[in-house]
């Protein structure tokens, strides 16, 4: 059984559940039915887009990934409140974090230089660079607003802005990496990631699936780490004026 036959079998099972719900008068059959139908249409559309992408030259992957990066930066910057230069910071974080990992891993052959590999693996890396940038910016904003008086009191001692804000940047970077580090810690015994599950289900050797999953997790870790470190370095720069004054984070930069 393959393809639409599998879909049909899954749909029958889902329909049975919806039918039971309907018989019990829970009035959920419309909502659930629509959700199942919508999910099927969306995932088929995504599959079609990827199938279309497979037919374009490999160089096009760069544009697709760049588009993902810019989209990710837009989402991450929306979490940044009024941090001055937030979009530029998020863009730099994601482009540098995810970009370095994708380029290096493609150059050494860990990611095959073909659209089929570059786009989906690249999207995973970009998404995690985005998450790290988003968390880092969110935390930096909170840190600076909460500790504004301390940072200014430290500046008033003739300390450089980067030293005055260092402990707050460090907290932001640490916060951004918590989900990634926790995923690494729990990998294999608390959860089996979807990629590895998918590879095993599609008949791949479980040992190779585990190795590849670790490679992906390490790439995600590197991308998230680089993205949050880049954001931290740039927040230091954008948060202060040339006269070493801490800018307002309420849109009055």
């Amino acid at each position: 059984m393959r393809g639409l036959e599998q879909v049909a079998a899954a749909l029958v099972l889902a329909a049975v559940v919806v039918g039971i719900v309907s018989l019990r008068g829970l009035a959920l059959e419309r909502e659930w039915g629509l959700a199942i139908g919508r999910g099927f249409v969306q995932i088929m559309l995504m599959g079609s887009v990827i199938a279309l992408l497979l037919s374009v030259p490999v160089a096009a992957s760069a544009f697709v990934i760049l588009g993902m990066m810019l989209g990710g930066a837009w989402i991450a910057h929306s979490r940044a409140g009024e941090i001055p230069g937030a979009f530029r910071i998020a863009t730099a974080g994601i482009v540098l974090g995810a970009g370095v990992v994708i380029v290096v891993m493609t150059a050494v052959g860990a990611i095959e230089a073909r659209v089929r590999d570059l786009v989906p693996v690249g999207s995973m890396i970009v998404a995690n660079g985005m998450k790290a940038s988003s968390l880092a910016l969110d935390r930096f904003g909170d840190e600076v607003e909460t500790h504004r008086e301390e940072i200014e009191a430290t500046l008033a001692l003739g300390v450089t802005p980067s030293r005055a804000i260092a402990r707050h940047v460090e907290r932001g970077v640490r916060a951004a990496l918590i989900p990634t580090v926790d995923s690494m810690r729990s990998l294999g015994w608390v959860w089996i990631p979807g990629l590895m599950t998918g590879m095993i289900l599609s008949g791949e050797d479980p040992i190779y699936a585990a190795e590849y999953q670790f490679v992906v997790m390490a790439m995600i870790f590197a991308a998230a780490g680089l993205a949050s470190l880049t954001c931290g370095a740039l927040v230091e720069r954008y948060a202060f004026t040339d006269a070493h004054q801490l800018r307002s984070f309420h849109g009055e930069s």
């Binding site: 008086e149 301390e150 200014e152 009191a153 430290t154 500046l155 008033a156 001692l157 003739g158 300390v159 450089t160 030293r163 005055a164 402990r167 004026t241 006269a243 070493h244 004054q245 801490l246």
Partner: protein, 235 residues
Amino acid sequence: MARSDDASDRPPVLETDALTYRLGDRTVLDAVSVAVADGETLAVVGPSGAGKSTLLRLLVRLDEPDAGTVRFEGRDYRTLDPRTLRERVGLVPQQSALVDGTVRENITLGPRLRDEPVDDAAAERLLVRLGLSGTMERDVNALSGGEAQRVALARTLVNDPDVLLLDEPTASLDADTEATVETVLSDLVDEHSLTAVVVTHDIAQAARLASDALVFDGDGGVERESTARLAEVDE
């Protein structure tokens, strides 16, 4: 602390030149021009929200004036490295604004973060003078408001400034501790020939610490008055 000789005989260390600062539509400082002579202690008084703390922030360039400037030792402070200015002009903010850690980590913050040697013995002596002996290794989160305020004062003094800007330095202190801190401040100012600007809401304290005061009118203007005269009017 209040020098008996006439401050106008000595060259100004800090001068504001038509210093103007606005917050939205409100003019907090309206073309304020004042001079603080070398070794002088000048009080700053006025109603809450009149701009007294803003003046101190502008003097160390934590905020940028909308117009006018400040001269430090005759030099426009925009031509100075802000770090140099702030090492020489030390601000003790009204809120202690201590960083997480011990008293030692806080009072040595300036030299430590500038990678300069720290004179632990001098820092310890300063704590003793401020009535904080034995607190060196205490977590600052366990200090009372008054203790935290004195640690903030010690932090600026350990930084060894030439000019001391104090924003309500005894606001969180009881009467006895206030008297101790005033005495220590007066002694330190005299011993190190410091110039000081002290914001206070207390006219009597202004008179104890300084012979002249800047009086904020609440509309962005200031006038220089003798503290003795202010104290008379206050009575």
